[in-house]
C-alpha cells in the first residue's frame, strides 16, 4: 500500500468501516510516515468539525408560530372545501328560481329575438342565392320585422339578464360574508 491508499484507509477508519487488519496496517504506517500522520490529523479534525453540535438558529417561538399557521390553514381549507361544494349548488338553484320567476319574460324576450335572427338569416341566404333585389322582394317586403324591433328585443334581454346577474352578485356577496363569519 502506498500513501494514496492510506488516505482512503484513514477515511474508512474514521467511518468505522476499516477491518482490524487494516487498522493494524494503518497504525504501523502512521508510525513511520509523517505526511500520512499529518493527513490522519487533518481528517480527524474535519470529522470532529462535522460532528460538532448544531447551533440553535431559529427563534424561540418558531414552533408556536408554525403550529398556529398550520391550524389556521387547515381551517381555511376546510371552509373553502365546504364552500366549494355549496357554491355551485346554490348558484344553479338561484338560476333555476330566477328562470321560473322570469319564465314569461324570458320566453317573450327570446321568441322575437330568435325570430329576428331567423328572419335575417333567411334574408342573407336568399340574398346570397338570388341577389339583393329578389331577396328583398320575396322576404324583406313580405315578412320583414317592424322598424326598431331588434333594438327593443335586445334591450329587453339585457334587462332580464342584468337583473339575474345582480341577483347572483348579491347572493355571492352574502355568501362571502357568511364565509368570512364562519372563519372567525
Amino acid at each position: 500500500m502506498n500513501c494514496r491508499d492510506f488516505i482512503e484507509l484513514i477515511d474508512r477508519q474514521i467511518s468505522g468501516l476499516a477491518t482490524r487488519t487494516e487498522l493494524e496496517e494503518l497504525k504501523q504506517h502512521l508510525a513511520g510516515c509523517p505526511a500520512c500522520k499529518a493527513e490522519f490529523r487533518l481528517q480527524t479534525r474535519i470529522h470532529q468539525a462535522l460532528a460538532e453540535p448544531m447551533p440553535r438558529a431559529l427563534p424561540g417561538d418558531f414552533a408556536e408560530r408554525v403550529s398556529r399557521r398550520a391550524v389556521a390553514e387547515a381551517r381555511r381549507q376546510a371552509s373553502a372545501r365546504r364552500l366549494g361544494y355549496l357554491l355551485p349548488i346554490f348558484a344553479t338553484a338561484s338560476l333555476v328560481v330566477l328562470a321560473i320567476v322570469y319564465r314569461a319574460d324570458i320566453a317573450g324576450a327570446l321568441a322575437p329575438l330568435f325570430g329576428a335572427i331567423g328572419e335575417r338569416l333567411s334574408y342573407m341566404i336568399a340574398w346570397m342565392g338570388a341577389g339583393a333585389s329578389e331577396a328583398t322582394r320575396t322576404l324583406g317586403s313580405t315578412r320583414g320585422l317592424p322598424a326598431g324591433s331588434a333594438t327593443a328585443v335586445l334591450a329587453q334581454t339585457i334587462r332580464i339578464w342584468a337583473s339575474a346577474l345582480v341577483a347572483i352578485a348579491a347572493i355571492g356577496w352574502a355568501l362571502f360574508w357568511a364565509y368570512a363569519f364562519l372563519r372567525k
Partner: protein
C-alpha cells in the same frame, strides 16, 4: 401542556396530532425544528432556510394523515424537507450544477498536506477551524452535502439516509466517502 407533550414518543405525538391535538404538532415542530433547519440550511444555504423549514412542517401537517403507521417521523420529516429543497434548488436553476457528481470519481488523493501551506497544520487547533470547515461544506455538490449533514446529525444510519434521499444504500456510502475526501481537498486547497 408543553411539558406534558414533550415527554411523549413520536408515535404518540403523531396519533394525537391526527386526532386534532395542536399541542402535539407544536411539540413535533419543537423537537425537530433545529435538525430540519440544519438540513435545509446545508442544502440551500442561509437564504430562505427559515421559510423553507416552516414550509416543510406545514406540508408535514397537511400530509400527517398519510404517514403510514410504523414509519419513522424523523425520516419522514427529513424526506419532506429534502424534496422541498431539491424543488427550491431546481427553481433557482442550481440543481444540475450541484448534482453533476457522477462524472467525477478520480479524486487526486495525493498526500497534499505535506505540500500545502505550513499554516494549515498550525490552524488545525484553532478554535474557529470547525466553522471554516463547515463553510467549505457549502462548496460540495448538494447530494454530498445532504449525505454528510444527515450522517453527522445524530449519526443517522445509512439506511435512513438512503430513505431520505431516495438512493440505494451503496450509493450513500459512496457519497459519504467521496464527500469527505472532496471536503479534505477543499480544506487543503483553501489553506484555511
Amino acid at each position: 401542556m408543553a411539558r406534558c407533550t414533550s415527554r411523549l414518543s413520536d408515535e404518540e405525538l403523531v396519533a394525537r396530532c391526527r386526532g386534532g391535538d395542536h399541542a402535539a404538532f407544536t411539540a413535533i415542530v419543537d423537537r425537530y425544528k433545529d435538525r430540519v433547519f440544519w438540513l435545509v440550511k446545508r442544502m440551500v444555504g442561509d437564504m430562505d432556510a427559515e421559510d423553507l423549514t416552516q414550509e416543510a412542517f406545514l406540508r408535514a401537517y397537511r400530509a400527517m394523515p398519510a404517514l403510514r403507521t410504523g414509519a419513522t417521523l424523523r425520516t419522514w420529516l427529513f424526506r419532506i424537507a429534502h424534496n422541498l429543497c431539491l424543488t427550491e434548488l431546481a427553481k433557482r436553476g442550481r440543481r444540475g450544477e450541484h448534482l453533476s457528481i457522477e462524472e467525477e470519481g478520480d479524486e487526486r488523493l495525493e498526500p497534499l498536506l505535506a505540500q500545502a501551506s505550513k499554516n494549515l497544520e498550525e490552524r488545525l487547533d484553532e478554535r474557529d477551524f470547525a466553522g471554516r470547515v463547515l463553510d467549505q461544506v457549502q462548496q460540495l455538490p448538494v447530494a454530498y452535502r445532504t449525505a454528510l449533514t444527515l450522517y453527522y446529525m445524530d449519526e443517522a444510519k445509512y439506511e435512513e439516509i438512503a430513505e431520505v434521499m431516495g438512493i440505494p444504500l451503496g450509493t450513500v456510502k459512496t457519497y459519504l466517502h467521496r464527500a469527505r475526501l472532496r471536503l479534505r481537498q477543499l480544506v487543503i486547497g483553501s489553506g484555511l
